[in-house]
């Protein structure tokens, strides 16, 4: 069992700190408190990074800054036995800067900094460098399933090495270059108004976002705020398969009668849906909602962080920080669909 002890997040919602939370999420209210997209993109407002020496900070790609910045509060005074990061487009901006050098200088003498910082595993490795952490270190780049695989790997590590603790997270950056590719490939709308109206569009495409959400996990329940009870990842375009898999997932992890007051067997208390305004993805999300007890509230979050490969990490952070925790224990189901073909379920049990 994967227990979550602490969380940290840098997102496009800097004002999402204690207090203003519930209004942002409760079914539609609180639009005014959420930061909207700027020029069609949900960008992180970067903090000052006081914990990172300027000499180190200067060279980092945005994804590395976000990852290290979010990691700092978690690795201070903690024994960490490994770092597992999911990223879909981390380092892309630096990579393309290097690409521009190749073209501009016709493969002549090139400065290597962009190349080194553009590699996706620079996030996990720089966190390791910052914390002098020599343990397990891995990076998953399978688009919308990178964060989930970091969680799966951490759950195995905990089982193999009792008593160990890991930093697990999802980090992605919006880069101008990558944005153009995704836009040309039809993944973004060109104009969107801020907030919940994202979900009112009946058109393809979502809106780009970015962020870093990290979690300190272990196999010990003491001091844990929640546990990941189940994770499933799969590929496909058939809605019926998604529904069948969801039913089986819930039956496996939430058998009938296991929930106080649940009306339907296998229903969580809350469904965090990765709906993103793309009308091609909506049928999948609706089909999953239809599997659940109609009384289960549906909470959407991509109007706060935008769409990016590891947005499910933001969702888990958001749920732990800002969903009113009653009654306990509270089971929260996450379903995310990435680019129509990648699917993931996460079941979280919250204790506090």
């Amino acid at each position: 069992m994967l227990y979550i002890h602490r969380t940290s997040c840098i997102s496009p919602q800097p004002r999402l700190v204690g207090g203003e939370e519930a209004s942002v999420l409760a079914g539609g209210e609180g639009r005014g408190t959420a930061a909207g997209p700027v020029n069609g993109v949900y960008r992180v407002v970067e903090p000052g990074y006081p914990g990172i020496p300027p000499n180190t900070l200067r060279r980092m790609s945005k994804a590395v800054r976000l990852g290290v910045g979010a990691a700092m509060p978690l690795i201070r005074q903690e024994r960490i036995d490994g770092i597992l990061i999911g990223t879909g487009n981390g380092g892309m901006e630096e990579s393309v800067k290097f690409l521009r050098q190749i073209v501009d200088y016709a493969e002549g003498m090139l400065a290597p900094g962009n190349f080194v910082q553009g590699i996706p595993n620079a996030i996990a490795s720089q966190i390791g460098l910052s914390g002098h952490l020599r343990g397990y270190n891995s990076t998953y780049i399978h688009r919308g399933l990178g964060f989930e695989h970091a969680l799966i790997d951490a759950s195995m590590l905990i089982s193999e090495h009792p008593g160990t603790r890991y930093l697990v997270g999802g980090v992605d950056e919006v880069s101008g270059y990558h944005y153009r590719i995704e836009l040309a490939d039809g993944w973004y709308k060109t104009t969107v108004t801020p907030g919940l109206s994202l979900y009112d569009y009946d058109s393809p495409g979502s809106i780009a976002g970015e962020g870093a959400a990290l979690f300190l996990v272990s196999g010990e329940s003491a001091d844990a705020v929640a546990a990941i009870k189940g994770i499933e990842t799969f590929h496909g375009t058939d809605q019926h398969v998604v529904v069948t898999r969801l039913r089986a997932f819930l039956a496996r992890h939430l058998p009938a009668g296991s929930q106080p007051g649940q009306q339907l067997s296998g229903s969580p208390a809350l469904y965090l849906s990765g709906e993103n305004g793309d009308n091609r993805a909506l049928p999948f999300y609706s089909a999953c909602a239809a599997v659940l007890d109609p009384a289960v509230p549906v909470v959407r979050y991509k109007h706060l962080c935008g769409e990016y490969p590891t947005a499910s990490a933001f969702a888990v952070w958001l749920a732990l920080q800002f969903v009113p925790p009653q009654p306990l224990p509270q089971h929260i189901l996450f379903y995310n669909n990435h680019k129509l073909t990648q699917h993931s379920f996460i079941l979280l049990e919250r204790f506090r």
């Binding site: 300027p54 000499n55 200067r58 060279r59 003498m109 090139l110 400065a111 290597p112 900094g113 080194v116």
Partner: protein, 87 residues
């Protein structure tokens, strides 16, 4: 170009090229070691400085070992530029 002017120009170029955004030219003494305890640059920076010398002054340093002799401090760099620049 006067040596003093070249030193100032070089310091500004180093700051920009290596993205030392919290440093000003006044912070870099002419004889302050670039690596180790001084400015705290590392091996990637030394490769980047070699590229800087190439792009701004047309200098080609092929051997990193030769580079280490040149990239000691601003003084040694300016001496080398003065002798070898082609731009």
């Amino acid at each position: 170009m006067e040596t003093a002017q070249l030193k100032e120009r070089l310091k500004a170029q180093i700051i920009e090229f290596l993205n030392l955004s919290s440093t000003t030219p006044a912070d870099i003494a002419d004889d302050q070691p670039l690596f180790g305890e001084g400015l705290g640059l590392d091996s990637i920076d030394s490769l980047e400085l070699i590229v800087l010398l190439n792009r701004e002054y047309g200098i080609v340093i092929k051997d990193p070992k030769e580079g280490r002799k040149v990239l000691v401090d601003v003084n040694t760099m300016v001496d080398y530029i003065t002798q070898h620049r082609t731009k």
